[in-house]
Structures are given as structure tokens and as C-alpha cells.
Symmetry: C2
Subunit: 328 residues, 2 copies
């Protein structure tokens, strides 16, 4: 790797795609943001993606072309083969050979990675997790994702799977989760879960400063209202923070991690989540003094999976470095 | 390391001490078993230990003397300094510089290790976990202990701590745990927890084939009774198996492990625990097909921490190999 190397990175979500031209220090030199439009067939969306990626590649300074592409996606992947098996929030996206398709279209090697893993590597190398050897990065979005860095390497386990923390059960009689069970962490602490809790509060006629329609409630609106002391928002964040604290305490006790980074779309609520996470850790942490572990807010936000994806292209932080798949 | 090398290993529990002369393939050439006698002051017990270890050392074949000692203990350790900070079930054993004391008495380097970690290494290198790269070893004894092997190395995390799985909460209104909280895994699935559940069944006057005094009930008696279809024993094992299954499912989903080895004093109940563990995994496993993970019964039993302790003396399976502490 050369300090002058550039990389393309793309983060594909159910609603939006973010793409960027990234340098070897994780800086985003240029970026694109466009809708996934899940109502359109995947082939059309892929054509859009390729056009945006080509435009980004063309923005590289003279003599510094991007030579490889990282794609971060949610869902079930065969990472080694660059195959998207299934993306729960993207109808029609099953068995899509992403690395093959983009490798041929862009004529460059492609690495497909779980989006939360790319996010975790970004925050660890360039963001809030800098300098830690053992940490978990938790993303609060449509679901709750997790990425583990263990001994300065992205953990992928025996099945090259994501770190599935969103479906750890907290209340057997809790709300129905997308996975078919009840009371999973993400029914409470994802952005979706927090909005649901807020909506239920409003529909029950409990007092709140919120004046919009319950089904238009956002976590951002709740953060703004919390600043004014809104009872609904504070209560929802307390519940989410306590749920996160319970799961983090178990994970810290299991693995002896130094810290957790909280990211994703609802990380704006960090200041309201942290005190309850800390309170539960103070009650439950066994392996270390509660003050000895760090609870940090994501620093890179949406840029994290782009910066992390680019870093993974160089093999940094990989347990078993594997070259990206070259076009056939 | 030479194939001819021999090692002393000692496993210290609240009730008994096991010690052995171990070869470089984990075979126990000679062993001792004696009571810890927690009513006696630690200094007397230590004198006993030294006498037994010297006797074991004297049993080494001519020309093959044991040159180092591994000590496995429960409790809170400073592994790097060979210091026992605190052993909950051994009154009076606080701030005992084990490596120093035994290093001087035996005139050999000493490695102090958490007993469950030594057990895990033994089962992984020489027992049920042979050949797996990522696994957890769970011991069901006075408490529930855990040892993790990740990417063919004993995991110790940022605080060189044990893997604390016994205090993962399963029922907030459950039985009071030694840690002061309620409903921890070990109130249900440890040998102690199973005996308690059985005793409560008997004291409630529910039907059972058991004819002894409730407070003399053992897990071994329950295993024997379960073979005859005893309702109490089967119900207790079902509850313990389901609790283990819930915790193992979360850990498998977090880490993508290939398997779990169930050991410790109550591992005799394995055949009755396994079906319920499997049933919960079938419901909850996300990262792999439930049939793709192994649930195995410990093969070495009491010998596991001795064989594992000896292996750790050679640096095998250590993340950051560290020489045992030499006598000063």
C-alpha cells in the first residue's frame, strides 16, 4: 500500500446509498448520496450505483486513480465469494453476486463486507475507538448491529458472520421483533424501536411536548425534545439506554473489552443513553471497574463504513487477510 | 520444549485440590487428590500442597524432572504477577502471592491461571474440543465458569479476566445469587443451582423417586434418578438445559463459535441437558445452522485443568506468551 492509494467505498442501506472516494488514511475526498429506491428492480439500482461510482472514480486527482472497491451491506453475506445471499430490508436482493457484478462493471477488485463490520473498522481506526485493542461498535439504526474488534483485528468467527447482538432477548413478553420473537434488544434500542416506544406513549395519551403526528416521530425530534425536558423522549431514551447497558454488561463480562462505541442513525441520542448505560454497568460489571471501560459516541457517523471499507481493502485489521475478488 | 519435558500442575478448589505430574502431551503420569480444608489457615494448606507437589516431583522417571508448575484457581487473580487477589469460596485466601510462595518452595517457575481457563485449554488441546478453532468451555460446578478459545488461542481480553458467564441474568425475579443479584445463570445451571431446584421441588412435596434428605441431594443422584424417569430430576435438568441454551445461543450469535464443551462436576447430567440446549439453539441461532455447531461433553473431567495448566506452561495457546514467574 502506498500513501497515495485511493479507494472507492460504498455503503448500501435499505433507503440510501452512500459512496465515497477514500484515501489511505480514511479521509473521504469526495462523496455521493442517493436513494436505494427499493421499489425498483435491483438491476436498475445497480446501474445507478455503477454510474455514481464511475463519477466518483473520475474525480480522483490526476495520477491517483482508485484501484479497488469496498461494498458494505446489511444482511446475510458470503463474504469470501462476494455474494449477497439475502438482505432483509431490500426485497428482491437475494443471491446477488455483488463482487462479480461490480468487479466487471468497474474493472477492479471488490470486497463485500457486512456494513456494521465496515462501520466498526472505520470508528476503530479513524474515529472514537482509536487506540483500543478490544472494543465493540454498536449501531442503532433500523436494527441494532454490532462489530467486534478483538486484539486489534476485526472479529468474524467461524462462519464469517456479523456480530448478532440485535436479537439478544431482554423481555420474553416484549414487543414483536422482525425476527419473529419477542423482546429482542432491537425492539427497544434501535431507531425503529425508540420511535415505536415514543409512538406508543403518544397513542396512550401520555403527556409530551411533541406536536406532530405519532407516526412521523423521529429519533432526532426526540433528541431535540429531550433538551426541553420532554417526558416521552427522556423515558424512551432511558429504556433504550438500560437495554443497551444490560447487553453491554454481559458482553464486557464475557470478553473483557475496553470499551464500546455507539453509532448509527440514532447515535444523536448518545448523551441521553450514556447515563443509563453507565448505571447498569456500575451494577453489573464484574471483570473490571466500571469507570475502567469507555462508552463513546461515534465520531465519523455516516463516513465510518466508507473509511472502514477502504481500510479493509488494504487488509488492515483483518484476521486472515484476503485479497478482494478480482473481476473475472 | 522437549517431548520428554514434564510439568507439575495443581487445581485448587474450595473443597479439594487435585495435582498431577503431566507430560508434554497432556497425559497425567501420576496424581494426588486431597482436601483443601477451608477451616484451616491458608499457610497450613499451602504446606500440605507443597508436600504433595514434592512427592509428585519425586515420582518423575529418572532423568525427566518436572521443571515448572501451573496452578489453577477460582477467583480474582492478577495473572501477570501470580497473585491471588480473592477467592470467594475460600475464606482467608486474599492477596496471596501464589507464584512467589510456590516458586520459592518448589524452586521452579510458576504460572497462576484461572481454573476454568486451564480447564478450557485442556479440553481444547486434549479432550472434546480437539480441532476446533473457536469454542467455549462451560464448567458446571459450585458456579458456572467459562473459558473461550478464539482463533486457537485462550482468550483473556483487556483485563486478563476470566470469561464471566455465570452472572448473566436470566430472570430478574429469580433466585438470589451469591453475587447479590437475582436469576443469574448459575442460580439455575451450576451444580449448586440444580441441587437447589431439586431441594425446592422436594420441599414443596412434589412427586419424586428420591428417598434421601433434601439437603443431601446431589447432581449425581439426580442423574441416576433421571434414568428411572424421576420427574424432579428431569424437570431440574430441563430448566438448567434451557438456561444454558439461552446463554449459549447469545454467545454463538455474538462470536460465531463452532461449539461448546460442557464440563465441571455436573457434566454427568450432559445427556439430559443437551436436548434442551439444542432445542433453544434451534429456536435462536442466527449466525449458523443449528446443526452446524457442536455441543460436546467434557472428555477429561477433573484432568482437564491439569493437562491444560501444563500446556499453558509451554506457552501453547496463549495470545501473548509470557514465561512463568521464576522464583526470586
Amino acid at each position: 500500500m502506498d500513501d497515495n492509494d485511493l479507494f472507492l467505498a460504498m455503503d448500501v442501506g435499505g433507503t440510501n446509498v452512500k459512496a465515497g472516494l477514500v484515501d489511505s488514511r480514511g479521509r473521504i475526498l469526495s462523496r455521493r448520496h442517493f436513494p436505494t429506491s427499493s421499489s425498483r428492480p435491483p438491476v436498475e439500482v445497480i446501474n445507478d450505483m455503477v454510474a455514481h461510482l464511475k463519477a466518483l472514480a473520475a474525480e480522483a486527482p490526476a495520477g491517483r486513480g482508485a484501484a479497488s472497491l469496498a461494498i458494505g451491506m446489511p444482511g446475510w453475506l458470503n463474504q469470501a465469494e462476494g455474494l449477497l445471499i439475502n438482505a432483509p430490508n431490500m426485497p428482491g436482493w437475494s443471491n446477488v453476486p455483488m463482487a462479480d457484478i461490480f468487479g466487471r462493471a468497474m474493472n477492479m477488485p471488490v470486497r463485500l463486507e457486512n456494513d456494521t463490520n465496515a462501520y466498526a473498522v472505520g470508528e476503530w481506526l479513524y474515529g472514537a475507538g482509536r487506540g483500543l485493542a478490544n472494543l465493540i461498535v454498536v449501531t442503532l439504526g433500523t436494527g441494532v448491529g454490532g462489530g467486534l474488534i478483538l486484539e486489534k483485528k476485526l472479529w468474524s468467527g467461524s462462519f464469517a458472520s456479523a456480530v448478532e447482538i440485535g436479537h439478544i432477548p431482554l423481555a420474553l413478553d416484549g414487543a414483536l421483533c422482525g425476527c419473529g420473537r419477542r423482546g429482542c434488544l432491537e425492539t427497544i434500542a434501535s431507531a425503529t424501536g425508540m420511535r415505536r416506544l415514543g409512538r406508543e406513549w403518544l397513542l396512550a395519551g401520555k403527556p409530551s411536548l411533541y406536536e406532530g403526528r405519532p407516526d412521523e416521530l423521529t429519533t432526532k425530534a426526540m433528541v431535540d425534545l429531550a433538551r426541553d425536558g420532554d417526558e416521552m423522549s427522556l423515558q424512551v431514551f432511558k429504556e433504550a439506554g438500560r437495554a443497551l447497558g444490560r447487553v453491554l454488561a454481559d458482553i464486557f463480562n464475557l470478553l473483557g473489552l475496553e470499551g464500546a462505541v455507539i453509532g448509527g442513525g440514532a447515535a444523536g441520542a448518545f448523551e441521553y443513553l450514556e447515563p443509563d448505560i453507565r448505571e447498569i454497568l456500575a451494577e453489573r460489571l464484574i471483570v473490571a471497574e466500571p469507570e475502567g471501560v469507555k462508552i463513546l459516541r461515534s465520531q465519523l457517523g455516516e463516513d465510518a463504513p466508507l473509511a472502514g471499507g477502504a481500510a479493509l481493502l488494504t487488509g488492515r485489521g483483518l484476521q486472515r487477510p484476503r485479497a478482494p475478488l478480482s473481476p473475472k
